[in-house]
C-alpha cells in the first residue's frame, strides 16, 4: 500500500512538472514579444573549445564581449561552446541561423564546409569563418598572421636557451601549425644557428593532460624552451614547475606561469568583430578574406618578461621591424630539411607557400606526419 501511494504521488508530481513546462511556452511567447525589438541584431558565435580554455576560444569570447560592450543594446550575442567539428557543427550553425542570428562567426577551421552548407540555405545571414579558405557571397573568412609573433618568440628563445633545444607541443599537422613551427625556428636561428626544434603532436586542440605530458617529455629530452600550438595553459604550467621558460598561446597566460612566461602571442579579434557586425548592420558587409597581423593589431605580443634587458630590447626591435614591414619572417634564403633552398636569398615566401605550407625548414627534428 505504501509503495502505491508513493508512486501515485510521484506520478502526480511528474504530470505537474510536465504540464508546467508545456504550458510555459504561451506565457513565454508573450514576454518575448514585448522584450525584443525589431532593431536588435543577433550575433552568434560557434566555439570549438570551452570558453574557459584560456587560449583560442577564450580570446574569441573576449572578442564577443568587446562587441557587446561596443555596440551595447543594438545587438544581442549568443554562443555555443565545445562544438565538435563534424556533423554537430552543421546543426549548431543552422540552429543559430534559423533562430534569427544575422551574423554568425564560426571560429575553427573544421567548421568550414558546414558553414558553407548552411550559408547556402540562409542567403540573408552573414557568415564569418575563421582560418578557412572557402568563401561565398555571404561567407567571408578571416585569420591572423600568428607566424609574425612566432618569429619574435623564436628570436627570444634563441637568445635565452642554454641547451639550444626548443620543445614544441603541436596540435594537427595543418599548414597553419607547420608555418608556426617554421617561423619559430627561423627566428631562433636568426640569432643562434645552433637552435633545433623537437615537435610532439598531441592530435587535439584542447587536451590539457596530453599537452602537459608532451611538455614533460620534451623537457626530459633537454628542451629548455617550451612553445605550443594547443589551446590550454598546461604546457606553460609544466615549464613553470620544471624551471624552464615558455610562451603563452592565444592569450596572455602570465598568471599561469609568472616565472616562466617570456611573452605570449595574443590573438585580438575585438576590432574585427565590431567592424564586421557594424558593416552587417549598415548594409556595407561584403564577403572578403582578411589576414591581419601585428600591423593591424590582430596579433599582439604580451609584455616581454623574465628575460635580460638586451633580449627584451631585441624582441621589441624585431616586433617593430615586422610591424613596419622592414622584416618578413619568411625571408630567403630558407632551406627545407633536405637542405634544398625553397626561398632564395633576397626573396620572401609567397602567399601560396605560406597558406599551404607542408614542409619543415632545416633544423626541425623528425619528419612531418603525412
Amino acid at each position: 500500500m505504501k509503495t502505491e501511494k508513493l508512486l501515485f504521488g510521484l506520478l502526480i508530481l511528474a504530470a505537474a512538472i510536465a504540464a508546467a513546462v508545456f504550458f510555459y511556452k504561451q506565457s513565454q511567447d508573450v514576454s518575448k514579444k514585448t522584450m525584443s525589438t525589431a532593431e536588435d541584431t543577433k550575433v552568434g558565435f560557434v566555439y570549438v573549445g570551452p570558453i574557459g580554455d584560456h587560449g583560442w576560444t577564450y580570446q574569441h569570447n573576449a572578442g564577443r564581449l568587446a562587441l557587446e560592450k561596443s555596440l551595447g543594446t543594438k545587438i544581442k550575442t549568443s554562443y555555443v561552446e565545445s562544438v565538435k567539428e563534424g556533423p554537430d557543427s552543421e546543426r549548431v550553425i543552422q540552429q543559430l541561423a534559423s533562430s534569427g542570428h544575422k551574423v554568425i562567426f564560426t571560429t575553427s577551421f573544421g567548421f568550414m564546409n558546414p558553414t558553407l552548407k548552411v550559408a547556402k540555405k540562409f542567403p540573408n545571414v552573414k557568415f564569418e569563418h575563421a582560418t578557412g579558405y572557402k568563401r561565398d557571397e555571404n561567407v567571408g573568412t578571416y585569420s591572423a598572421r600568428f607566424y609574425e609573433g612566432r618569429y619574435i618568440a623564436g628570436v627570444i628563445a634563441g637568445k635565452v636557451s642554454k641547451t639550444n633545444k626548443i620543445g614544441y607541443v603541436a596540435s594537427f599537422p595543418i599548414p597553419e601549425v607547420v608555418r608556426g613551427i617554421n617561423a619559430f625556428l627561423l627566428g631562433a636561428r636568426s640569432v643562434n644557428p645552433e637552435m633545433t626544434i623537437s615537435v610532439v603532436w598531441v592530435n587535439s586542440w584542447y587536451d590539457p593532460g596530453k599537452e602537459g605530458d608532451a611538455a614533460k617529455a620534451l623537457i626530459d629530452q633537454g628542451a629548455d624552451i617550451i612553445s605550443q600550438h594547443t589551446d590550454s595553459p598546461a604546457p606553460l604550467q609544466v615549464a613553470e614547475n620544471r624551471g624552464v621558460k615558455g610562451f603563452g598561446q592565444a592569450s596572455d597566460m602570465i598568471k599561469f606561469a609568472p616565472k616562466a612566461q617570456l611573452s605570449a602571442i595574443v590573438n585580438n579579434w575585438d576590432n574585427y568583430y565590431v567592424e564586421r557586425t557594424k558593416a552587417a548592420i549598415d548594409g556595407s558587409w561584403k564577403s572578403q578574406d582578411v589576414w591581419y597581423g601585428l600591423k593591424e593589431g590582430m596579433v599582439k605580443m604580451a609584455p616581454y618578461t623574465n628575460m635580460p634587458d638586451d633580449v627584451q630590447a631585441l624582441a621589441k626591435k624585431t616586433e617593430d621591424a615586422i610591424r613596419n614591414g622592414e622584416l618578413h619572417p619568411f625571408s630567403g634564403p630558407i632551406k627545407d630539411q633536405t637542405g634544398k633552398i625553397v626561398v632564395e636569398a633576397g626573396k620572401v615566401a609567397d602567399a601560396g607557400m605560406l597558406l599551404g605550407m607542408n614542409f619543415y625548414v632545416e633544423g626541425v627534428q623528425g619528419s612531418l606526419p603525412k
Binding site: 511528474a14 510555459y24 565545445s82 556533423p87 552543421e90 540552429q95 573544421g110 564546409n113 597558406l355 606526419p369
Partner: protein
C-alpha cells in the same frame, strides 16, 4: 567482503529476494522525474528560469521540423551501434571498441566512395555501404579471433583497436586521401552525389540511414526473441555453465556477437559519412562508439529500449545546444545534466534489485 565491512560497518547492499516487476518498469520513469527535479534546482541556482530551461532543453527542439529531423540524424548512429552492442552484452561479450569499428566503416566505405569519385552509376552507393559494413565487421573480427584463439581479453583488445582505427583514418586523411585542392588541409574530397545516401525530407539532413536503424531494431528484436540463436546468446549471458552443458558453442557465439556489433557499427560509420558529413575528416565521430555503450545499457539491452535510449540521449545533446543558444547556459551544464540522468537511472536500477541494509553482518552470513 570482510574488508568492506571494516570501512563501511553500517551500510550493506543486499540482493532482494524478489524483484518487483512493477518497479523494474517504473525505475526509468522515476529516474527521469528525479532528473527533472534536480534540473529545477540546478537551473534555479544558476539564476535561470527553471521551467524555461527545461522547456528549451526537452520540448523546444521537438517543436520544429528541423529539430525533429536533427534528433533522428543524431540518434541514428547511437541506435545502430547500440543495438549491436546490446546483443553482445546480453551474451557477456564485451565489445568496447565500437568507436574503432565505426571509424573503420567510414574508412572502408569512404575509401570506396573516393575510388568511385568519377563513376556515375547507381551501384556506387550499395557498394560503398557494403564495404563500409564489411570494414566494421573486419575490425570487430580481430578481437573475436584474439579471444577465441588466444583467450585475450576482448575489452582490452577491442578498446585498443579503436585508437588504431582512429589513427589509421587520421593518417589516410593527412596523407594519401587528402584533397589535392585543399591547401594541404587534412580533409578528403567531397563525395560525388552517387555515393551519398538519399535525403528523405527536403532541406533537412534526414537520410536513408535512419531507415536502416529502424529496420535493424526490428530485425534484432526478432533475432533475440524468436530465434534459437537469440536464445543461445541469452542463455550464455545468464548461465554460461548451463549453456555449456546444453552444448552451445561459446566461441561461435563470441564470433557472432562481434561480427554483428562490428558490422552494425561499420554501417553506422559509413551511414554517417555518406549521409551527413559527405567527406572523410580526421575524426568522423564525436565519440558515438562510446556513447552507444551507455545507450545500450540505458535501453536495458533490448533493441526497442535502445531505440528510445538513443532518442533520449540525442535529445539531451540537441537540447543542450539549444539551451546554450536560447538562454546562455554553459556547455558544462549539458554534461552535468546527462550525468545526473545516468546516475539516477543506475541508482534506481540498483535499488530495485538490491536494498540498503543497516546491519553490520550480511543476512546470508547470519543465517549460516
Amino acid at each position: 567482503m570482510s574488508q568492506i565491512f571494516q570501512f563501511f560497518p553500517k551500510f550493506v547492499l543486499e540482493p532482494r529476494l524478489e524483484v518487483s516487476g512493477k518497479w523494474v518498469i517504473l525505475s526509468p520513469i522515476i529516474a527521469i522525474i528525479l532528473t527533472l527535479f534536480s534540473g529545477v534546482i540546478i537551473f534555479s541556482l544558476l539564476g535561470k528560469d527553471p521551467f524555461l530551461a527545461l522547456y528549451t532543453f526537452f520540448v523546444q527542439p521537438l517543436t520544429t521540423m528541423f529539430g525533429i529531423t536533427e534528433l533522428l540524424v543524431k540518434a541514428t548512429p547511437l541506435v545502430l551501434i547500440g543495438v549491436g552492442l546490446a546483443i553482445g552484452f546480453k551474451a557477456n561479450v564485451w565489445n568496447i571498441g565500437a568507436e574503432g569499428q565505426f571509424t573503420m566503416g567510414a574508412v572502408f566505405g569512404g575509401g570506396t566512395a573516393l575510388l568511385c569519385q568519377h563513376t556515375e552509376s547507381i551501384l556506387v552507393l550499395p557498394l560503398v555501404l557494403v564495404l563500409g559494413t564489411l570494414g566494421g565487421l573486419f575490425w570487430g573480427a580481430i578481437p573475436a579471433f584474439l579471444k577465441t584463439r588466444f583467450n585475450a581479453n576482448e575489452i582490452l583488445t577491442s578498446l585498443m583497436l579503436s585508437y588504431v582505427a582512429v589513427l589509421c583514418l587520421s593518417y589516410l586523411v593527412h596523407g594519401p586521401w587528402r584533397d589535392p585542392a585543399g591547401f594541404n588541409f587534412p580533409e578528403s574530397q567531397i563525395f560525388s552525389d552517387y555515393a551519398m545516401l538519399p535525403i528523405l525530407i527536403e532541406n533537412s539532413r534526414l537520410n536513408l540511414g535512419t531507415m536502416f536503424a529502424i529496420l535493424v531494431v526490428l530485425v534484432a528484436w526478432i533475432l533475440m526473441t524468436r530465434t534459437i540463436i537469440g536464445f543461445q546468446l541469452r542463455v550464455v549471458g545468464l548461465a554460461p555453465t548451463a549453456a555449456q552443458y546444453a552444448g552451445f558453442k561459446q566461441s561461435g557465439l563470441i564470433w557472432l556477437s562481434f561480427l554483428i556489433s562490428g558490422g552494425l557499427a561499420g554501417l553506422a560509420g559509413i551511414a554517417e559519412v555518406s549521409g551527413t558529413i559527405g567527406q572523410l575528416l580526421p575524426s568522423v565521430s564525436p565519440g558515438y562508439g562510446f556513447t552507444a555503450i551507455i545507450v545500450a545499457f540505458l535501453g536495458r539491452l533490448h533493441p526497442v529500449g535502445v531505440l528510445f535510449a538513443g532518442l533520449i540521449m540525442a535529445l539531451s545533446y540537441i537540447g543542450g545546444e539549444n539551451a546554450q543558444i536560447e538562454i546562455g547556459l554553459p556547455a558544462a551544464v549539458t554534461g552535468l545534466f546527462q550525468g545526473i540522468l545516468l546516475f539516477f537511472l543506475l541508482a534506481c536500477d540498483v535499488l530495485v534489485r538490491y536494498r540498503l541494509s543497516h546491519r553490520s553482518v550480511l543476512a546470508s552470513e547470519r543465517r549460516e
